[in-house]
């Protein structure tokens, strides 16, 4: 009498399991194979056709910060793929989408501006991104701080100065931002303001190191200012007397200057009568 319990044909299940294992081995092997095939990648290129982050925000049903993360992660991979030649074409667009989706996500602003400045060599875009960051996050000193650095990259010390000035008064900004500001003032040849700031830093310095730095910069600023004055005087002397003065004292004697300024260390400036060049006696940071 046939048993109701035993399988009708013993190999039945066995065949199926065998087939299962074979199929699995097959697809895993094929997968390993196709992984090796290089496919022309324009990963996630469809994002380019999204009109703006605003629309995307609505489409993500309240998961926009998550969407921002995902797009950002993708963007990092995308911009890390150097084979894509024209990857900077939509740099502005992509990062504006990320920023729109999550305006308070700080990293994308920084990284986006970094890519723009360093890799795409697009300074205005870098600054645009950072400006946007500041606009949406008025409490983040990092944005004007970095913007200042970017401006410095193209020697726009005016702008750099503005940025540093903004940054230094923001909560959490480190001390040295002030110094950066002062330095950019110096670089724009606004010696008066620079002197003022550096004095302030010197006086309020909490440790010796900062004091030394401030003092060096003060030296530098004074030197620059003094040298400017001296050079003007030399030029005036040359105009009047058709020759260069033999020494700096001549300038005072000739009445071009009430007195000859000395550097911060009470040393004289070095004057080369042959070229009319005035230099400081010491290099500021070797004092």
């Amino acid at each position: 009498m046939s048993q109701a319990v035993t399988p009708r044909r013993v190999p039945d299940a066995f065949l199926l399991v065998l087939g299962l294992c074979l199929a699995m081995a097959a697809f895993m092997a094929v997968k390993a194979g196709t992984d090796g095939i290089a496919r022309a990648k324009v990963p996630g290129s469809s994002i380019i056709y999204v009109p703006s982050g605003q629309y995307l925000k609505y489409a993500t049903f309240g998961y926009s910060p998550l969407a921002a993360d995902l797009v950002y992660l993708w963007a990092i991979q995308y911009y890390g793929t150097y084979e894509i030649q024209d990857r900077f074409a939509y740099l502005d667009h992509i990062f504006s989408i990320i920023n729109e989706l999550d305006p308070r996500y700080v990293d994308p602003y920084e990284v986006g501006s970094l890519i723009a400045a360093q890799e795409a060599k697009d300074i205005p875009l870098a600054l645009k991104i950072l400006d946007r960051g500041l606009e949406k996050n008025p409490d983040q000193w990092i944005f004007p701080f970095e913007a200042g650095h970017v401006a410095q990259m193209v020697r726009d010390y005016d702008r750099a100065g503005d940025y540093f000035k903004k940054a230094m008064v923001m909560p959490g900004a480190p001390d040295f931002v002030r110094r950066l500001y002062a330095d950019s003032l110096y670089k724009t040849a606004d010696y008066k303001s620079a002197w003022g700031i550096w004095s302030g830093i010197y006086n309020s310095a909490s440790d010796e190191r900062v004091k030394k730095i401030a003092s060096n910069h003060l030296y530098q600023v004074k030197a620059a200012a003094d040298i400017q004055v001296l050079k003007d005087a030399v030029a005036g002397f040359k105009d009047r007397c058709n020759r260069l003065p033999r020494s700096l004292d001549n300038l005072a004697a000739a009445g071009f200057l009430p007195s000859i300024p000395r550097d911060l260390d009470e040393k004289d400036y070095v004057y080369d009568p042959r070229t009319g060049d005035v230099k400081a006696a010491t290099i500021p940071w070797k004092r």
Binding site: D12, A23, F27, A40
Partner: protein
């Protein structure tokens, strides 16, 4: 052919299923909406139609595959039509195979219809029949078949809602395979990395069927990729179907 009879019957049942028409309607709307979106975009309009159109076909194809797959087998079990069916001299495997083939046929028809609308829309813009789009769509169809098999697998032991969720999860995992790959590259060699690699090969990689980008940007596709994708699809689908057969063979219909 008993499997053929079941397949034909499944096809009839699917085609008369109202859900299908709803989905098809939305797919058509989606494709046409791409035309509207094209107005908003800056740049190449045709590209956005292609992108959104292909995305619509893909999305709705997957939805159809999941909903039909989970619905039909469950319905048979729930409504007990399966009792008379399985008491006849057919193997349970024949039943599953028949269901699968019927659904594949249905998906094929629906995909053809969606493609016609899509190509028609493109023609209205470019006055050319963009045959290259069909390349991407053919592989999408392969993906649909795999998803259908997965849906059938889950519906042999689960309710329609859970089956749908699991099938959707399978789809999502299948498209996020690259994430695991990136993770593995950053892992240090060792046991966990080997396990992760094994997992990576085992989990579905549905991006193998995704030629949308190449087709839209007219990029070349290495011929090995075609064979590879087709083989992958066939083997994985086979795997899922056999798994379903194994689950189904000793199931008690209370």
């Amino acid at each position: 052919m008993k499997v053929g009879a079941i397949a034909r019957n499944t096809f009839k049942e699917a085609m008369r299923d109202r859900v299908l028409y709803l989905l098809f309607f939305f797919a058509a709307v989606g494709i046409v909406a791409s035309r509207l979106l094209a107005v908003l975009t800056v740049g190449d309009r045709v590209k956005i139609i292609k992108d959104v159109g292909l995305a619509s076909v893909s999305l709705f194809g997957v939805l159809m595959a999941i909903l039909m797959g989970t619905g039909l087998v469950y319905k048979e079990i729930d409504k007990k039509t399966i009792f008379t069916l399985l008491s006849k001299p057919i193997h349970r495997a024949q039943f599953l195979l028949g269901k699968f083939l019927g659904l594949v046929l249905t998906l094929f028809i629906m995909t053809v219809l969606m493609s016609l609308i899509f190509l028609g829309l493109l023609y209205a813009h470019t006055f050319r029949v963009e045959w290259s789009m069909l390349l991407a769509i053919v592989f999408m169809l392969l993906e649909f078949c795999l998803i259908t098999a997965v849906a059938i697998l889950f519906s042999t032991f689960s309710t329609p809602i859970l089956s749908s969720i699991f099938s959707l999860a399978f789809y999502l995992i299948g498209h996020l395979s690259w994430g695991l790959e990136i993770l593995i590259r950053k892992m240090r060699p060792g046991l966990s990395r080997t396990l992760a690699q094994a997992l990576y090969l085992f989990l579905p990689d549905l991006e193998n069927f995704n030629f949308k980008t190449e087709v839209v940007h007219a990029l070349p596709i290495p011929p090995k990729m075609f064979a590879g994708s087709a083989a992958y699809g066939v083997f994985y689908t086979l795997f899922i179907l056999i798994l379903a057969m194994l689950v189904f063979r000793k199931k008690d219909f209370i």
